[in-house]
Symmetry: C3
Subunit: 151 residues, 3 copies
């Protein structure tokens, strides 16, 4: 690949991540799903839906039902491995808010993503994502001690 081709790919992957987090926080699941290859695998600290995009989407929709949340991603480092393969690192700060009965609860996480990306039908998509938290805080009595969005 030429330098120019690599830079075009890096920009597309930056935009892919931005599209993903916007769709995630809007619960726009159709757009979110379309950011991922069919064989995508997500692995969170306490949550691994295993085989493929459909399992990830089912787990995510269930996990995020009734939750309001915000995901901020920073300082990407994308490496283009071939015309159809890349990997990337981002830092993440996420905030989750929900009710348990009448009680307000929250989770606040500081972590990073280790991703891989692949080209499918001419478009860069997520092929895997591993979220590792550096720090987690939560409201007393939270039922979500160890996890953020799980993907």
């Amino acid at each position: 690949m030429t330098d120019l081709e690599k830079l075009v790919a890096i920009n597309e992957i930056h935009c892919l991540m931005a599209r993903r987090v916007r769709a995630l926080d809007a619960h726009d699941w159709e757009t979110y799903e379309a950011c991922h290859a069919e064989d995508h695998v997500s692995a969170g600290p306490q949550w691994n839906p295993g085989g493929g995009r459909k399992a990830m989407m089912d787990a995510l929709k269930k996990n995020m039902d009734g939750i309001r949340h915000i995901h901020f991603v920073h300082s990407p480092m994308i490496e283009i491995l071939s015309p159809t393969e890349a990997r990337g690192f981002w830092t993440l700060e996420d905030y989750l808010y929900w009710k348990q009965g009448d009680e307000d609860h929250w989770f606040h996480g500081w972590g990073h993503y280790d991703d891989t990306y692949g080209v499918r039908d001419g478009q860069w998509l997520f092929t895997s994502r591993r979220l590792s938290y550096m720090r987690k805080e939560h409201s007393p009595g939270s039922r979500r001690e160890g996890e953020g969005n799980g993907s």
Copy 2:
């Protein structure tokens, strides 16, 4: 436009936003104003100065007088529409601090920007900006319940 021309434009727009937020948080109003086209329109959730850059600057200077603040912007997704037109999406976290009499007050916002950009005299500038908050928190008794910087 070639891929290279688009990437050059995207980088210029990234730097435009960085220059804007640095000038904003420094109250460097001359630099801030120069980031915007004369016909720029900002629309915030409860604040819309309407016609043009001058109205925006007047409202902003009044709104931010006596306030210390910090704006962090993340994960841009810039789309070049033509050699002189583009649009962009960014996430935003902002923090405001001020006094009401002797009391310390604060606002903390989580949101995103939907911008448009245009070329004027060979330079990319903001032509519009819409700020939408996903979440807002403020100190009890704050006189700024619903707004951050307003632009």
Copy 3:
């Protein structure tokens, strides 16, 4: 330099910063050191190790011993000055956590970096970094009133 050469350099500097903050928060001092030129100089608000990378590393390792921390960097504005010289601006949010005896303490900072970069043996490295805080908060009784990571 051509536009393409400048864009390649900007991407390398973006990745350099991402590598630095990942290594910093992991206390991976070997990788961290390798991000800096031998004559690198860091200047923090209350902390300036003076001459060169070795002094910076000695001060940093001592300063960060026993501290858990997170550094998020945003919205770079990189200017390529020559084929071997560049400067950059980033915003920073940092969080530090440590024990004083049995007590949990913390520092939370909002600032920005003014960096310079140079090419050494074909690779972009940090040659200087100045951290300026816009706001600092800390736990009551903290022994780290005025400083974050110091570099």
